[in-house]
Amino acid sequence: MSGRAEQLRLVEALLFAVAEPIGQEALARHLDEAADIAGLLRELAESYAGRGVNLVRLAGGWTFRTAPDLADKLRVERPVARKLSRAAVETLAVIAYHQPVTRAEIEQIRGVALGKGTIDTLMEAGWVRPKGRRAGPGRPLLWVTTPGFLVHFGLDSLNELPGLDELRAAGLLELTPFILPEQAGEKDAEPEVRIEP
């Protein structure tokens, strides 16, 4: 292999292995005095142009950097477990049982105004989505559950959600005397405004 090719290999290896951008003087210490370092760097930079990794000048030295246009793909997604607020769970339930339903109707059914982020959170979870608008004044958005909602809760269809009578029979509509639900569950949500009739 020619001397110049060997020099190119060495410069490539040095630039790859060092932790910081490396200047021409520092490179010179590893090469023959006669080496044309500027020329070697130019040649190397050209051979990496348009590739996944580029040779760039940074902080007065030279270093390899991944190509900027690939930044979006050089990411790893990491699942982070989150808990839904009480208000979000209840809103999801109302949408599931009353869909398609407007925001105002959800508020009417729950008796409290919806916090700002509640529906956003449910959309982020992939469980609800807007679908069409109700005819009438203001043409409000209608909310429905998604197929992801059915998958998450292991339901084949919305018909599998227990009806009111079944809920009552299962004890899910019974009064539990010592808990005031509106205070117990919702303190982590933003304050909700009671609606006056």
Binding site: F64, A71, R82, L167
Partner: protein, 269 residues
């Protein structure tokens, strides 16, 4: 490549031939290692060495050390004793009904141990001779890393969903029962309130002064005014109070009917 062996160090002696020997012994990784070194001095394949000659060499080596009054680690002496035993098994005919392994079996075992140690010594050397990462070859010195994008995952069981729906329904139903009746002041409320004042109001007083003091909003105030007015009409009809209004939309005044009649009525009630 030396390390402190777990054996007691040999005593220091003045520079001489004996020190050379001490250092030699100190340089071995135990009796097997010493045996292996001696075997290598026979310069033949381990399979062809003479175990008998090897035992002699080892015993001579140890004897030489002891003749120099050097302390020899116990494990080297144990090995010497075992080799002396092996030698006797190899040289003397085996007695009949002897359960112990023959000299040839023992020699084969020793040979296996020597080969095993030699193999590991060679393997270690070959490992160390490889291009070593961080020393001869280098990984990326300045890895940029991959950006971590958190993806929220929400956990919710069907039970929690249904429970929340049930709780929500219950809350709104309960509100109708407990809050709404309290929003209005009924005529019965007004009658029972006025009954406390009848007989104790000899002079004219404004109707408004009999209204409840609680401030519960406009709706409640107006229902209280209406209920109290209706109650005074009822009381006037029964002859318990007198009412007076001086002009249209003017204030309404009220007093107990008459002291004597009131007492009589009070006793009758």
């Amino acid at each position: 490549m030396t390390e402190a062996t777990p054996h007691p160090p040999a005593p220091r002696v003045p520079p001489s031939r004996s020190e050379q020997l001490v250092l030699e012994l100190d340089g071995y990784e135990g009796p097997i290692d010493l045996l292996l070194t001696l075997a290598r001095e026979q310069k033949v394949d381990l399979g062809k060495i003479s175990i008998l000659a090897l035992a002699d060499q080892y015993l001579a080596f140890i004897a030489r050390q002891r003749s120099l009054s050097l302390e020899i680690a116990a494990d080297y002496l144990v090995m010497a004793a075992w080799l002396a035993y092996l030698k006797s098994r190899l040289l003397l005919p085996q007695p009949p009904q002897d359960e112990e392994p023959s000299g040839i079996e023992l020699a084969a075992q020793l040979e296996h141990r020597l080969r095993l140690l030699e193999a590991m010594q060679i393997a270690g050397g070959r490992l160390m001779a490889r291009p070593r990462t961080g020393q001869d070859v280098f990984l990326r010195g300045a890895p940029e890393g991959l950006a971590v994008v958190p993806v929220p995952v929400y956990e919710l069981a069907l039970y929690e969903l249904l429970r929340a729906y049930g709780d929500g329904r219950r809350r709104t139903e309960a509100a109708v029962l407990t809050i709404e009746p309290a929003e209005f002041y009924s005529m019965d409320d007004a009658l029972s309130r006025l009954a406390r004042f009848i007989g104790r109001v000899p002079n004219w007083r404004e109707l408004a002064s009999f209204l409840p003091r609680e401030l519960r909003g406009e709706l409640f105030r107006r229902s209280a005014l209406a209920a109290t007015f209706a109650a005074t009409l009822e009381l006037a009809r029964r002859g318990r109070v007198e009412l007076r209004q001086d002009r249209s939309f003017g204030p309404i005044y009220l007093r107990s009917f008459a002291p004597a009649a009131a007492q009589g009525l009070g006793a009758a009630a």
